[in-house]
Symmetry: C2
Subunit: 190 residues, 2 copies
Amino acid sequence: MLDAAAALFCTVGFTSTSTRAIADAAGVRQASIYHHFAGKDAILLELLLGTVRPSLDLADALVAGAEPAAARLWALAHADVGLLSAGPVNLGVLYVLPEVAGEQFAEFHALRSRLRARYSELASAASDDADDRGELVLGLVESVILRRRDTPDLDVAAVQDAVADGVLRLVGCTPTEVAAARTLPVSLGV
Amino acid sequence: MLDAAAALFCTVGFTSTSTRAIADAAGVRQASIYHHFAGKDAILLELLLGTVRPSLDLADALVAGAEPAAARLWALAHADVGLLSAGPVNLGVLYVLPEVAGEQFAEFHALRSRLRARYSELASAASDDADDRGELVLGLVESVILRRRDTPDLDVAAVQDAVADGVLRLVGCTPTEVAAARTLPVSLGV
DNA sequence: ATTATCTATAGATCTATAGATAATGC
DNA sequence: ATTATCTATAGATCTATAGATAATGC
């Protein structure tokens, strides 16, 4: 049911997807949706939480790590790009839906805020500059959402490397520092 | 009518906005919409084209410019962040709507493809590296869409500078080169 | 004459609930 | 006994068209 909804929300759109369409794709009757979810909003919330929670768990672990900050930031960006690029559908597009601005999705926004804070912490630790570049860095990572939309068949591994390297350049690392961070194994990374 | 639709599409959502809601906001009757537009899709297309055309015009002009590539890239990123941040509503969110993937919006996608190509040209010219970093650069620029969504009251001028600087770091410019590119006036820039 | 707007409406949805029936777990 | 599913439907939309009326341009 969640899988069916995810596929429809990401291709047809959230509001364009009727509860009947979800039910048909999931092989149940329309009314059965309401036994499991309060409504379409609840389905969307569950999908959103499912995408941000793994990122936040990893970010929490990496922030507490002992490796050089640049290496941890590289690992986080690399993993998040992987999460956003993986899966049969581009769930990231759901972040941007105007409908998601509503109060019903406060829990999702709270988690995403925490993820943003983790990026800021790592970016500051890895940067020589005083500016907070966490926003820029998260922006570059999440730009794979639009990128995947434009080019559905991305070379995921290549994009992961390119974005993670770009993140380090963005916070001010020199090419030498970037190369060092990539080769350094981060125990908790992916 | 377009303004009313823009505001509703960006806040309520595209499919959630009925032709009646647009008409009410514009102060006309629901049926009158159909005298000016074939339907809601046509309104959305017009809005999308209106956001990408100014960017593309400037990009075309800058690609043909004679200033150092880094300065031209900085100016383009700066201006595009301004365009995406300006205006009463965050029109950029419309780019990501699943509904926009359809064939009806081919003209928009064609223009956006050309803009992407311009970014690639400038990024290659400004970079010492062989990789095409145009995608990363455009991604960083467009990340202001999500950023504006999370923080509606951005300091536009500060974000413009921060993103444009970030773009140059992304293509491999040193801090000295970045500083040089910012101070150099680009005749066609904004 | 042309363009813009209006009223009224056909026809097609869509959400969410009520109430019945089947399946499952203790 | 509880959980999951079903059928049927009320009530509320929503889009797009037909046809009438007003405003505008030559």
